[in-house]
Structures are given as C-alpha cells and as structure tokens.
Amino acid sequence: MQLRSLSTIALGLILLSASSAFALDLRELIREIEDQHTGRSSRAVMNMQVETSHWERSLVMNAVSLGRDHFLIRIQEPPKEKGVATLKVEQEVWNYLPKVDRVIKVPPSMMGGSWMGSHITNNDLVKAAKIDQDYDFALLGETDTTWRINCTPKPEAAVVWGRIVYLVEKARRVPLTVDYFDEDGIKVRTITFDEVKEIDGRQVPMLMAVQPLEKPQESTVMHYRELEFGVPVEESFFSLRNLRQR
C-alpha cells in the first residue's frame, strides 16, 4: 500500500518534471531570438548588400547597441555615404547626414519607409524589439528538430504585421526563417538566417537575408563580419551629439 502510493507520487513527479521541461516558454524564446544580435550590449561590423531591379549596392556599417532600446549604426563604405548614421532610442529614429551636417528625425508617416535604401523599414528597427510584448504566441507545429511558432498581434497593439511565423531550430535555439504576413493574411516577406556561429556562449546566425515576396528579384542581405557582446557602453553614448560625430 505504502509502496504503491510512493510509486504513484514518484510517477507523478516524473510526469510533472517532464511536462515542465516541455512547457516551452514561447515568449521567452522569441525574445531571445529578437535580441540575438544585440544581447545586453554589442558592437558589430556588418555588410549590407541590397539588390533591386534597378541597382545594387553594398554598404559596410558599424553598429553599437545597448539593450533593446538603444543603437547607433554608421556607414563606413562606400566613401560617398561614409558617415551617414542612424540612431534609435526607444521608439524614435534619427538620421545624420554628413553632407549637409544635419540630423533628421524620421516622422511617424515615414516609419514605413525604407531604411538606408534597403528592404528593412524604419518600423522594423523600432518594432522588432517589441515583438514579445506586442504579440501572442502559439506553437503551430513541431518536428524533431524545429518549432513553428505563430505570432498574432494583441488587439490593442500598434503593429505593422497581421501575423508572423517563426521557424526555430530546437538544438541551437536559432531562427531558420521568419515569415511576415500582412493584415489580409498574405505572405509579403521572408527573412532567412544562416551561418550560425557561437559567440560568447550564444548561438548567433551571422547571415540574414530579407526577401520581399512581391519583388522576387530583390533582396537585402546582412552579413555580420564582426560581432561581440558585453562591450562597455553607457546610455549617454546614444545621444544626438554623438550621432553627429563623423
């Protein structure tokens, strides 16, 4: 009798621990993924290759970030655009133009516009950091190696997308693809990740390709050439004055 009740408890405990191991915190996972390139603080050198039907261009940029609300990106190459910089502080985006030595704040009506001529919008810069707050998550499907996670916006959230679907690799907890759907449920953009590398004990994809689906011949590819986490940087670094430094 005692033995039986003991074994029941033991079985119960095993089941409990098993299920808690399975109780995947999707919100935490998405948060991890969205912060994968920034961490607590980071410094990066990246290459951005933009291709459209009319032109293609290649930029080299330096980026410094602190948490999810502060980052500063500055173009290094090509020479013509060297020094053009973007500062993001919380929900606001400023651009610095060295040619005319002016800082421009991106107005709300232009947040949907292209950032630095790429297929990334200003909105992507500010909204991505809030995905885990603005969306509800559900497991859409699961294979041995991947999770497919569906994100639907919370009713009160001011968001751009109607739905986002993440395909995440289980073992390394890195995204493989992210599909973006508009309000009518039509898939409009896919981001593909590749070249996962371990940096400071974190698994980070060094390649990120943005593919707008209505223009299949166009794309933006971001390639991290250098990336380090835990760099010493203060909040005061992300100031308009610093933005103007060439």
């Binding site: 032109w55 261009r57 002016r102 704040k105 107005p107 001529g117």
Partner: protein, 409 residues
C-alpha cells in the same frame, strides 16, 4: 403674310399690359438663366483651372504607366527636338518638362513627407500659374540653384520662412541616400490643401543631380489654348510620340473632374427645364386668354374667308413675335449681367474658405464667364417654348366654327 404680321402686331398691342407682363416674365427668366449659367460656368472654369493650371497641366506626356505608379525609373529624355515638336503643335501654348521625386523635408525638429517637382522656371510658368499664387518671396529663376517654392501648409508645418535652409532626403536612382539643402525662395497658396501641404518646386537640373538622373524627366506637361480639346489633342499627339510614350489629358488624370463636367451639363438642362416650365405656363395662359377673348373676331375673319391654317399661323406668329422680342432683350440683359459678374463679381472670402472637390478648388468668389452654349441654348429653347405654349391656343382658334364663333358673346 404681311397682313398676318400686321394683325399679329396689332393684337399684341391691343392688350399691351398683358403682352408686356408676359414679355417681362420671359425677359427676366431668360436673362437670369443666362446669368446663373454664366456663374455656374465660372465656378466650373475656376475648378478646372485650379485642377490643371496649378499642378497637372492640360495634357501630360510620360512613359507608359508612369502616371499610375510614379516610378522613379520611368523616365524620358526631354530632348529639345521633342520639346520643339510638342511646342509646334497647334493649340499648344506651353511645354514644361518635369522630374518628380518623393522624400522627406526637414527643418530642425520637424520633418514632413514631400513631393519635389523639378522644373525649368521659365517653361513651367507657361503651363501652371503658381507664379500668381505666391504669398511670400519670389518665383524660381534659372539660376536660383537650390531654391525652392513651398506650399503654404508645408512651410507652416516646417516653420520655414523665406531664405531658410531645409534638408531634403530621398533615395537616388543609384540606391544611394540623396540629400541636400534647399533654400526657400517663395511660398505659394493654391487653396488645394493636398498640394499646399506637400508640394515643393525646385530647379530641374538641381533635382536631376540630386537623384542622379542626369538629363532625365518624368513627364512633359502641356498647356492648351482650349482645355476642353485635351482628349482630341492627346489622341493626335499619340501618333507623333515614340511608342513608349503616352499623352494623357486632364480628364484621364482626374476622372472625377470629367464627371463634374458631365454633371454640369445635366444640371444646366435641369435648371433650364424647371425655369422655363414655369415661364411656359405663363405664356400658355396669356395666349389662351387672348384667343378666348377674340372668339368672335376669329369667327368674322373666317367668315370673311380666312383659312383655319392661317388663323393658326396668326396666333403662332403673335407668340413668335413676343418671343423674339423678349429673346433680344433677355439675351442683351443677360449679357450685361454676365459682363458685370465677370468684371466685378462677388467676393465671398469673408464667409467661406476654398473647397477642394474632385481635384479642383472652388474659390470663395462668384464670377461669370462667357460660354456660347449658355446663350444660344436658353435663347433657342425660349423660342421653342413660345411656339409650344401657343400651339394649343392656336389649335383651338383654328378649329372654331365661324357661325358659332360669331354668335359667341
């Protein structure tokens, strides 16, 4: 026939008070109608002019499909040979090549989305009339470099004054970040909030350099002597243009405006019908009375051998004479009133603000224009109305039996 005319004139004069009253009714209704139609046309012309002469032009030549998506890369080369060929067309009195780009205009803390139109100042003034809409500063000149004309709403939102430098940011044709300073040289106000809040004019070659489209333009805007011939002109031009270019008239650029004009034609007819129906009843009444009064007289005339159809002619002739007389006076008076409204007009700016509708702006003023249809249509219909109203009394007179008619008291 001379006898009938004399008789008709005498009959009209016999009860001259009644004839005069009928005449007055016809004169007043036709002259007021002419005035009302003139004012109506004036409003329409204001609207059409604002829609075409403040922005589009009457006719626009551009690459196929450019007007639908305004793609930066749908450019054409406005070579002087093409410009000359367009200028030589009959009825074309202004030709202006333009380059268009969209971007961000910024002053200090505030920035606004803006449409920049690169123009050659001397040529643009032949097509649009923004030079008459300046509220501050001067129009662009060929050598004003980075000078810009801003809409008033845009200037206010950016808190920009004449001489101030603003930053313009856009994406150049090579994908790079195009940015430069512009200097505000003038501010215009058209009353069309859409353009006043977001349009700026700059020099064509400055904009070509900024967006890296040397020697290119997006469209060539034309000004026509008669804007209403634009569809035919567009068709004629299509044959002269290279196949990749198309000519689009203002009616296709602004389909709503076409609707407005079609509506105008219908409402003109409705107004005429309503006003003339009332007048017609008056005329009908006059002639019935006059025919009834003269039953005995008609009987005697018939007994003396006047054929019934001549009796009918007599009554119709009376109506026609009265009609022609009121037509002459009515059209004369209507022309005078229209002339007054054209030269003087009524300023309503103290009571209402400009209204933008269907792409055109209705200015807060009443003014009239001379349009032939506003004269011949009421005049012709007045004559028809007279004859129609007199037809039944004339028939009645013609069907009288002489013997009975003579006995009538």
């Amino acid at each position: 026939m001379t006898m009938l005319t004399t008789l008709a004139l005498r009959n009209l004069w016999r009860n001259h008070r009644r004839s005069l009253l009928t005449l007055t009714a016809m004169v007043v209704s036709s002259s007021l109608l002419i005035l009302a139609l003139g004012i109506f046309s004036g409003m329409l012309q204001d609207m059409l002019a604002s829609a075409t002469e403040q922005y589009h032009g009457h006719l626009v030549v551009s690459r196929d499909g450019y007007q639908d998506d305004r793609d930066l890369f749908s450019t054409l080369a406005p070579e002087s040979e093409l410009i000359d060929r367009l200028s030589e067309q009959e009825g074309v009195n202004g030709v202006s090549p333009r380059l268009r780009t969209f971007g961000l205009l910024s002053a200090g803390e505030s920035s606004r989305p803006v449409e920049l139109l690169g123009v050659q100042p001397a040529k643009e003034q032949q097509v649009t009339t923004l030079q008459n809409k300046l509220v501050a500063g001067r129009y662009l000149t060929e050598d004003s470099g980075n000078g810009a004309l801003l809409g008033r709403g845009l200037a206010e939102r950016l808190d920009a004054e004449i001489g101030e430098q603003l930053v313009f940011l856009t994406q150049a044709a090579d994908g790079s970040i195009g940015n430069d300073l512009i200097t505000v040289t003038g501010i215009f106000a058209t009353g069309d909030t859409g353009h006043d809040n977001s349009l700026a004019l700059v020099n064509l070659n400055w904009l070509q350099r900024l967006v890296i489209l040397p020697g290119q333009a997006h469209e060539i805007a034309l000004h026509l002597e008669d804007p209403l011939t634009a569809p035919q002109k567009a068709e004629a031009l299509e044959k002269l243009l290279p196949p990749e270019l198309e000519a689009i008239d203002w009616g296709r650029l602004m389909p709503e405006m076409n609707e407005v004009i079609a509506t105008y034609d219908v409402s003109r007819m409705i107004i005429i019908v309503i006003l003339y129906f009332a007048t017609g009843l008056g005329i009908l009444n006059t002639f019935f009375m006059s025919v009834m009064e003269r039953t005995r007289e008609f009987g005697i005339l018939m007994a003396m051998g006047l054929r019934p159809w001549r009796i009918r002619i007599l009554v119709l002739l009376e109506a026609l004479l009265l009609g022609v007389l009121s037509l002459v006076i009515g059209v004369g008076l209507g022309a005078l009133l229209t002339l007054y409204m054209r030269e003087v007009g009524i300023d309503l700016s103290g009571y209402i603000t400009p209204v933008t509708y269907a792409g055109g702006t209705i200015l807060p003023r009443l003014t009239a224009v001379f349009e032939p249809a506003n004269f011949w249509l009421p005049a012709l219909l007045l004559l028809i109305l007279c004859l129609l109203s007199a037809f039944f009394p004339a028939n009645r007179a013609a069907r009288l039996q002489p013997v009975e008619a003579i006995r009538e008291e």
